[in-house]
Amino acid sequence: MANVFSYSIGRKLLMSLSGLFLIMFLFVHLTVNSFLLLDPVFGTQEGDMFNAGVHFMTMNPLIKIIEPILFGGFILHVLYSIVLTIQNMRARGSAVYASGNKTSDVEWSSKNMFVLGIALGAFLVIHLIQFWIKMKFTGDPLLADTTFSYFGVQTTGHNAYALVHEAFQIPWVIVAYVVGGIALAFHISHGFWSALHTVGFSNNIWLYRLQTLSTVLAWIIGLGFCTIALVQYAFYPLS
């Protein structure tokens, strides 16, 4: 068992497990983000539910434990993608086909996972600078404490909503989020089923089911993030 990661399939296992873990995190993230859309639906105060959600995420001890694991998983995913890509380029050899590759019926995203990954990495830098670093370390005037209903109790906490609300008024940020969301959708549309394939959960029948599921899931996540940003921009201008 110990040396499983010295085999190609073992290395891919790391990619798969870390990828699946990141998808799980994205789901949680998307759930919290979706609160941005829910305030108007439930008629609560602007940003109430979102702030409560953020509060939950920052205060929950479980999340505190998972956070470093998440970070580790991310680093692992990136590092192994680099290792595997280099190995694969070496295996492909230096000679390139002059007539290119005209094999049809191959998922575009599956051939461009690394490129999509780089795009996502770039997006992540913007995203982290804009929110995570401010919330975690540097702080920001917009984050000044506010009160909101937290499981029915009026609670004081960061006004994360204000920060997000302002950021989503800047056109280039919206463009970045839309591009990022689409890249994410493509990345996951291959990544999800491929990860399950690599851990061995697939066969002749499930292969196609998983591929469909993967596409649906990916676009829910990807479009979910862009839609939230777009709705904020289009319908909730700064007052």
Partner: protein, 254 residues
């Protein structure tokens, strides 16, 4: 069969390489009046005959059975392993798939695991090495119980047969952006893992074959599926999932 077809005039760009260590290059040839009913390799025969007449060295390419089963032929034609048709090997490709006046680019399989020997011939010995590492059931000749002693469900037998139809041509590796041999290895591991005879040493086999596959320099599979599209025998990448499963199951027990 088809008097209505007239001969094709073609331009061929063919990879020429004197030997494994020499630098290769493309050479352009023109061919007149090729019958659309001839096979691609027969067209190559005509070209070679022409080269012999012109006192030039003919193009070396691998071929043998010319009926799509031996797995010897191996050309990368116009951007595709085994050329522009589905579920066939190069020897089954016919010239009616090409248009008059077309330029056809012919290249050898390219992958670090398949070094070029000469012109369009590559060395696929790495496949044999993987097979020698574990692609078998460890039984000696003789002393075997009756063939019907172990019933095998028809579904399993048919699935094993589908995996076993691999001809070892290497199109999967040639077309894979990662130069991975997973489809080849998974076909053999699947065939034997599906049958009770092979199941006994399934764990050992999966580990040994994957280790050898890594050692001889094939890449890591990213489930792109191009291999499945170009495989002349239509072997499914579901076999790759089975290989992953067999391998991980084996490693967990270590």
């Amino acid at each position: 069969m088809s008097e209505q077809h007239k001969g094709l005039n073609l331009t061929l760009k063919v990879w020429r390489q004197k030997g494994p260590k020499e630098k290769g290059h493309f050479e352009t040839y023109s061919l007149q009046n090729i019958s659309p009913d001839s096979s691609f390799l027969e067209m190559m025969d005509v070209l070679n005959e022409q080269l012999v007449t012109e006192d030039k060295e003919p193009i070396a390419f691998d071929h043998d059975c010319r009926e799509g089963i031996c797995g010897m032929c191996s050309l990368y034609i116009n951007g595709r392993a085994h050329g522009p048709d589905e579920d066939i090997t190069t020897c089954q490709l016919h010239m009616r798939k090409f248009k008059d006046g077309e330029t056809i680019t012919v290249e050898p399989w390219r992958s670090a695991g398949f070094p070029v020997i000469k012109d369009l011939i590559v060395d696929r010995g790495a496949f044999d090495k993987i097979m020698a590492a574990g692609g078998f059931v460890s039984v000696n000749t003789g002393g075997i119980p009756d063939a019907n002693a172990i019933p095998i469900s028809k579904d399993k037998a048919d699935e094993a047969m589908d995996a076993a139809s691999c001809i070892g041509c290497g199109a999967c590796v040639a077309t894979c952006k990662n130069g991975s041999a997973m489809l080849f290895v998974s076909a053999k591991v699947s065939q034997l893992a599906l049958l009770p005879q092979g199941k006994i040493e399934a764990a050992r086999r999966a580990k040994a074959m994957v280790a050898k596959m890594d050692e001889v320099g094939f890449g890591n599979c990213t489930n792109t599926g191009a291999c499945e599209v170009e495989c002349p025998k239509g072997i499914s990448i579901a076999n790759i999932a089975r290989l992953n499963r067999e391998f991980l199951k084996a490693k967990i027990q270590d």
